[in-house]
Amino acid sequence: MWTFLRRRGGAAHDNGRAAAEVYGRHGERSTSLTADAALPIRLDSVVKRYGRRTVLDQVTCDVHPGITGLVGPNGAGKSTLVRAILGLVRLAAGKVEVFGIDPAVRPRLVRQAVGVVPEDECTVPGLAAVEMVRYAARLSGLPGTEALRRAHEVLDWCDAGQERYRPVETLSVGMRQKVAFAAAIVHDPRMVILDEPTNGLDPIERRAMLGRLTTLAREHGKTILVSTHVLPDVQTICDRVIVLAAGRVRLEGSLDELTRPVVPQLRLEATGPLDACAQLLRDRGIAATRADATTLLVSAEQGRGLDEVWTAVRASGVTLRALEPARRRFEDVFLQAIARSEEGEHATS
């Protein structure tokens, strides 16, 4: 069951082929065995050092089509990892492949296929928003007229059209973030890498931004790699997650698998005498624990059916509001992984 959840301790792992989830042009989701080269990103035992400090330590992971979250505490090596993917840094060891191409050997080809939204604002002072996006398109090789047409189009799509003629440096943080996003996708890249894409966005804009990312992945088949600290965002849009801490991959897998509890459980939300309901379930040999005032976590081990749960609910007189497979919050999974990694570091030292 937990074969997808692979905890990494730094050793190179078997790069055996996994079933990759592929999104069709119309959003249908299918599973097929992809060739090695078709994987958007493959990192194999990547080591990067700055002086004596090892920033990436034997990082081995794959980024599959769809939306992948890259999460980790500050200084985990996320930005360096993104730079390694773009071929901006020289690696001490290991290999990176982006769509089967080594970015250290052919960085131009890789960067044509990738759009990047950096965390910090990066603008060319003096340019208006539409000029900035057009400039980005021209640098990516689009002809002049096409670049301008695309710039207007993506700014409209990003809901930044109303500010298009204002100089970038005078825009609000949120608007600048939208312009940076527009500049990253204007050349229609196969993959978009975003560093804290929802920084500076209000809740409505944040939701809209996550919606755009989902649209790009589901409807246009783009691969999205989101580096973020905002774990609810990860849980909202990501299909897969890579947790990086102290330069190592601590956790990698699909979000479904990672947030599934160790023991299968049902989450029962109800009002009324919940304690009585729990006692009835226990009497029937089903473990039930109170999660909060209105929620019970009911064991779903050994294939016990819902019938017994329904019976207990009816007998106890509670009013059922929800019954669904229990999920762990991704935040808990993340914190657990970080805590484990810190324990491991202490033990090693």
């Binding site: 901006l88 044509q112 950096p118 021209r138 990516s140 090789g141 002809p143 059209g161 649209t215």
Partner: protein, 362 residues
């Protein structure tokens, strides 16, 4: 959703090949630089000396047209002063004096020979005296912010997360400056040459002086390459453009002062102990006389060896330009400044290449 919002649409056109990015960077950079009112004024002002020099071209050609060439030459041979016609007078007196003894040529050949010398000297004076100084000012206005501003605004991410290599980036920035330099050196100098052809008695003068446009371009390149690279290297060393600006102007000023001090020291030493300081048989090491006419000196009338020229970019560029125009032919005079400029260029290019790569690796 607005009516004009077409949603996200894929794009599958033909992309430009490698190298196109330099052009894009240059075009955008020039457009941004041109928004500066100070730069527009400086470039406009940089064309004004060309008007004065155009007057000299006109006066020279007019003297030939009016048949005063022989009398002018005779006056120059007798050592008469021709300063009445301004810069041209000084240049003409010197040039005619030099060719006065060449009796074996016809008058037409003599005029052609003199024209070539006079035009070369006038163009050299134009490029050395007003334009080189104006270039320092214009480059000082534009160059300091070209890379430092990208570093401060983290705009390097705009470039290096896209298919743009650091050499394309540097080439783009060099093109911005070179275009501006060309606008204040090559363009007015070519305009001067064209004006000279137009005011000359015959259109065949264009064929007689057809090498001058090439020399203008070469002289501008000698001026542009080290100065542009040096200015960009300064810009890449800091995120504060004002520091780069200060370093740029300080370099020109300090080197000029150093050159002037050492030349003056030579003069003093020569005056006090000529027998010790200067070998009597080697007149190449005679210090330059103190002549007041800066423009005339720039025209190469001063044929004493400037042995400290390599110290100052302004003077070094001047010597190399004089060599390009055929005014200075002594290897001992040309080599040290040429080596100095080559060293500045190479060092600046190395600094530039290394510094531009630093932010991506930090």
């Amino acid at each position: 959703m607005p009516l004009h919002d077409l949603g996200y649409r894929p794009w599958s056109g033909q992309r430009a090949g490698p190298g196109a990015a330099s052009g894009v960077i240059a075009a955008t950079g020039i457009r941004l630089a041109w928004t500066s009112r100070w730069l527009r004024r400086a470039v406009l002002f940089a064309w004004s000396p060309a008007l004065l020099f155009a007057g000299s071209f006109f006066a020279f050609e007019q003297s030939i047209e009016e048949g005063r060439f022989t009398s002018l030459k005779e006056r120059a041979r007798l050592g008469r002063n021709l300063d009445g016609v301004g810069v041209l007078g000084t240049v003409l007196a010197d040039t005619l004096g030099r060719t006065a003894n060449e009796r074996h040529v016809s008058e037409a050949q003599d005029i052609a020979l003199t024209r070539r010398l006079v035009w070369s000297r006038l163009l050299l004076a134009f490029m050395r005296a007003p334009q080189a100084v104006l270039l320092a000012v214009v480059v000082g206005l534009v160059a300091p912010s070209l890379i430092s501003r990208d570093l401060r605004a983290r705009a390097w991410l705009v470039y290096f997360t896209r298919p743009v290599g650091r050499f394309e980036y540097i080439l783009g920035k060099i093109t911005i400056l070179t275009t501006i330099v060309a606008a204040i050196t090559v363009a007015p100098a070519l305009a001067l040459w064209l004006a000279g052809v137009l005011v000359s008695p015959s259109i065949s003068v264009a064929a007689q002086t057809c090498d001058l446009p090439l020399k203008i371009v070469a002289a501008s390149a000698a001026l542009a390459i080290p100065t542009v690279l040096l200015a960009l290297a300064y810009s890449s060393l800091t995120t504060e453009s004002r520091i780069a600006s200060f370093a740029w102007f300080a370099t020109w000023a300090a080197c000029w002062i150093a050159h002037a001090s050492l030349t003056t020291a030579d003069l003093v030493a020569a005056a006090e102990a000529p027998a010790i300081a200067w070998e009597t048989t080697d007149d190449e090491y005679r210090p330059p006389p103190r002549r007041g006419n800066w423009v005339a000196r720039a025209a190469g009338l001063d044929d004493t060896l400037d042995r400290w020229a390599w110290l100052s970019p302004y003077h070094a560029v001047g010597v190399v330009q004089a060599w390009i125009f055929g005014v200075e032919t002594r290897p001992r005079a040309v080599l040290p400044p040429a080596i100095s400029l080559a060293a500045i260029s190479i060092l600046s290019a190395v600094v530039l290449a290394r510094r531009v790569a630093v932010p991506t690796r930090a």
